[in-house]
Subunit: 435 residues, 2 copies
């Protein structure tokens, strides 16, 4: 019989927890046998003394095993998953998953909702009239078989350990620990059952890991977990010093993603999407080289086959696929308000997190999980870092229904976007690949 | 409005908590507004990052203020308290308090019960037929006025913060931290209202702080708290490498203390008692030098005036003072069992904690707070460190009623007392004085 206080003692003296001890922790905590006050003492000891890669992996495995583990074996071929650590105007899933599917990869993805300054893929998809994300497992598998992709909400029984632990970490100052973040993300990826995972770790003013070194360390920790679990795993560290796309807001982001899949729009969102999709295709099809994968992805874009796959999924998930031809079928805000530059110069710095908060203030996001969102509203970014700007020129267009948060959003937006007399250095879009 | 998670964040980054923050912690925790899981996260952060002397003092003050603070102003003269960190055969209070009272000091002492391997003064006193420790505050003050001393149980409302925190620390691996130990002890001393405090910090195999350096650090931390609070405070670091007296067990310890107060018995227990009593008298009577205090204490012993004070208290607290003349009135065990040496040599090492556990197995102590004790049983130590011993010679005499734990106690006793061919180095009795 293990005594939990002995595990606390061990970690407080910077000892190494064994597989058995970490499983005992997770199983006991989920079962309610280990009380919150003991779990939080261990979490703080972990925060202060750290965990090595082996401990981090074993914690992740124990968490992944705490609930349902999805069996995707009924889907032929390699299943590839992706995960982004979250940001603003990060609409990559809506572009990447159809492109990968068009190249023959299978993307059976469980996504999350937006919270705080970050958006969520489920919310974006739900802005498509009729689209449902609460699809049962059998139908989910069938849709992936048919379309090559499906994106649904996490089932309630996927990694219950993470739900319970995250809530405790949130109120005990133990969120910001590399091993705990990595195990939280990767436990869900392991439980979701894909053969390979591409991770998009964001860095910059809109990311959880603002510093690129921290982002890279997180990427390494997650790739290490993936490898230990026998999953092919690769991570890109990508820039979130500004909103990735132009649109910040749910239906607006769907529209932008569709325009990209139609080949009507280029830019950073497309570039990051192509990079992620190429890596996913490369892992899904071991018989081809990665350069070949990149060519296939570009061809899936130019041929319109990616768009076809998106249409297939939308229809299969009860959405109206006509939104792809007629954007007027997407929810539209009652009015637009243009936010104009107050000075001449170049866009030198964007507090991306604040841009996310501005969209939230317009109704596009959630402060807390139970808030409802307005799918129509959001912000269209007219300028990107390094763009020249003149006084009075539009910086952004706000799409507005409820004007309650408008004034605060405008004020905060203007503070968040800085101009300078000289052209600034533009950060790299893709900092690093961790394999 | 303070957010508790910010205090956790501060301490986790090794920041310094302010008086206000520590008071917010203690008040909020006692009121049930701060949940256990947040308190335990802070305690672990304190364990790992420490607290400086100012924080330790402010924590202590906040804890002391969490319940009743005893007002001893109705007692004329200086009130001096003592505290021992606990050990085996540590019967000093029964000797020291009467001697100090005989010298004119006022000892209004709240004591505790035994737990685990350590004995408790309340249990010892209760072995005197009729003796009551649950005396009301007014009567307590009256007894001190009349006899110069009274020893009672802590009231339930003395430092509720310590009761609640200690229970949490016990199950979260956060007991063994210098600041937390010091604040736990000193908060009760501050709340108990004495003008001056003498601390007896034990070190060695029967002490909580086995290492003399740790014991000295604890002594310094407690003296620092005492000084900051305006109490004259002094600490002795004394040896607990072997049971301090010969008797381990409640009535047996009362008998030994009485014999010492009668001048019939010398040894380490007497020597430590004299040292403690001299310092208490010195603080109680600032008009005299400490050398003079020591002389007065010795004279209180030889004149029998100490014994008279003990008789006064026993009678006032409903006990039968005739036990002082007739030890047959104390509870007596049904049988004695002699434990004999298995080898020739010198007593080289005693695992004192184990001796305490052996007495507990005979029924003299408590494994958990709700256990009842047998006042009659215990162990009489025939040998001390460095004593020569021959095979078959008595090492100890067990006083036994219930024989259930006897065999285990004998076995463990023989393992706990080691002999060696050569005479060992005997540790100092009083290592250090911290003022």
């Amino acid at each position: 019989m293990m005594r939990f206080v002995e595990l606390i003692e061990k970690k407080k003296h910077a000892g190494k927890l064994s597989r058995q001890e970490l499983a005992y922790f997770i199983n006991g905590y989920v079962a309610g046998e280990i009380p919150d006050y003991q779990a939080s003492a261990l979490l703080m000891a972990i925060w202060l003394n750290g965990m090595d890669p082996e401990e981090t992996y074993e914690l992740t495995v124990a968490m992944a095993a705490s609930g349902d583990q999805i069996d995707l074996s009924a889907i032929p071929g390699r299943k590839v998953d992706k995960h982004s650590t979250g940001g603003v105007a990060d609409t990559t899933t809506l572009i990447v998953a159809p492109l990968v599917a068009a190249c023959g990869g299978k993307v059976a993805k469980m996504s999350g909702r937006g919270l705080g300054h970050t958006g969520g893929t489920l919310d974006k998809l739900e802005s498509i009239p009729g689209f449902r994300v609460d699809i049962g497992m059998n139908e989910f598998v069938d849709i992936v078989k048919k379309c090559g992709l499906s994106v649904i909400g996490q089932t309630g029984s996927l990694v219950p350990a993470d739900k319970k632990l995250y809530a405790l970490r949130d109120v005990t100052g133990t969120i910001d620990n590399l091993s705990l973040i990595a195990s939280s993300i990767m436990s869900k990826k392991l439980a979701a059952g894909a053969d390979a995972v591409v991770l998009d770790v964001k860095t910059g003013s809109g990311a959880f890991m603002r510093d690129v070194k921290d982002a890279e360390a997180l990427a390494r920790a997650m790739v290490d977990i993936g490898k230990r679990s026998g999953r092919r795993t690769v991570a890109l560290v990508t820039d979130m010093s500004q909103p990735l796309g132009r649109a910040v807001g749910n239906a607006m982001e769907v529209k932008e993603a569709v325009e990209i899949l139609k080949g009507e729009r280029a830019g950073d969102l497309l570039d990051v999407s192509l990079a992620l999709a190429a890596r996913m295709v490369c892992m899904a099809k071991p018989e081809i080289e990665c350069e070949q994968a990149e060519k296939e992805v570009r061809s899936a874009l130019s041929s319109g086959k990616g768009l076809e796959r998106l249409a297939c999924m939308i229809e299969a998930q009860r959405g109206n696929p006509k939104v792809l031809e007629n954007e007027g079928l997407l929810p539209k805000a009652a009015q637009t308000v243009t936010v104009k530059a107050k000075t001449d110069g170049f866009i030198s710095c964007i507090d991306t997190r604040e841009i996310g908060i501005c969209a939230l203030l317009l109704g596009a996001g959630r402060q807390k999980k139970t808030d409802t969102i307005d799918p129509a509203v959001g912000i269209w970014m007219e300028k990107r870092l390094g763009d020249p700007v003149k006084t009075g020129e539009p910086l952004a267009v706000f799409h507005v229904n409820n004007t309650g948060g408008l004034e605060e959003a405008k004020m905060r937006f203007l503070s968040a976007v800085k101009t300078a007399p000289g052209k600034p250095r533009i950060p790299a879009l893709i900092y690093r690949e961790v394999t």
